[in-house]
Symmetry: C2
Subunit: 210 residues, 2 copies
């Protein structure tokens, strides 16, 4: 059909640690199986249940710094003492093939993506309230109190960067949050700049006849 | 809930005569009963099945020109020999009350709305092809061939104005077109500028603590 896109959409999801991003992303990908979820590289240690190549590509600090030096990263940032970064080449290839790409990155990385790809769609996921974020971090119980407090302080800082994001989604119920992100993706695919090819022939013949 | 909007969204739908706008709008309003559909004023004669105050407010040329002179219109335009216009006050009141307002207006009017309300959301509905538009106009069989040709020529002209629209929706199947517009409305309600109040307290305490 003529609706096929010529280029994929680059979608960036950010949100404070504990907001439930992974769950929302899993829900999203179960509906939109055509989206490529870019697995980030990190020097952070895997949490219980996390698998290499699935949640993250877990690498050593040395390996990560090698990637930086060879210019292989679209963006990278240090966050609570660990590196997080996104491979450039993989993403370019997918976008060129018309495939939508989803990135799960924090605010510093999102700002870098924005400056390199102005048409990227930036979505920030917030909890229903800050108290609820604290509850979720404590419920997770994988981190010590000190780490949790560090994450909460970081979250407060991140909130100051929200205005650079195009959209805000509240993760109260996972299905609703995923539904809003799905709507955003549909809306973005309807953007005039992404669909002008649908009227190229008519617009052409119109300008000739004038 | 904190999600309640402080101000309604102004949504403008345009599209060539015969594209099936009315059917799409009816489908849309059956799902989103909270939307206020602004009934335009026109000097055009009612078509079979059209009711005053429902499809349009049908007025005389004299009455319409009185409204122009008294500054009661947000926008108005002449289209295929008839006036079409939108009441300003009704719309303002709804938007102020946090109600989304839907306008069905042609491209000249849309441009005027855009210049007066830069945050208005402009959506252009196109047919799957120009041939299909011609088929639909002939199938409708309410107009003479001369009028149909006038509408097709007008449609070609309108296509040149599509780049001023934020979104393009293809009306192939009505349910899909309505679904895309619903997604656009959901996405627009997620815009960061429409949701900053959700983090006002945290952002405030954060800037104090820094």
């Amino acid at each position: 059909m003529g609706k096929k896109k010529t280029r994929g959409e680059l979608v960036v999801l950010s949100g404070p640690s504990g907001v439930g991003k992974s769950t929302v992303i899993a829900e999203l990908l179960s509906v939109r199986k055509d989206i490529y979820f870019s697995v980030s590289f990190t020097t952070r240690k895997p949490r219980m249940g996390e698998a290499d190549g699935v949640n993250y590509n877990f690498v050593t600090r040395e390996e990560f710094e090698g990637m930086i030096q060879r210019g292989e990263l679209l963006e990278y940032a240090e966050y609570v003492g660990n590196y997080y970064g996104t491979s450039l080449k993989v993403i370019q290839d997918k976008l060129d093939a018309g495939i939508d790409v989803l990135l799960d990155i924090e605010v510093q990385g999102a700002a870098k993506v924005r400056s390199k790809c102005p048409q990227a769609v930036l979505i920030f996921i917030i909890p229903p309230s800050f108290e609820e974020l604290s509850r979720r971090l404590h419920r997770r119980a994988t981190d010590q109190e000190e780490v949790i407090q560090g994450r909460l302080a970081k979250a407060r800082e991140e909130y100051g960067q929200i205005p650079q994001y195009d959209y805000m989604v509240v993760n109260d119920k996972v299905s609703e949050a995923a539904g809003e992100i799905l709507a955003i993706l549909t809306a973005e695919s309807c953007r005039t700049r992404n669909r002008l090819h649908l009227i190229a022939d008519v617009a052409g013949s119109s300008s000739i006849s004038q």
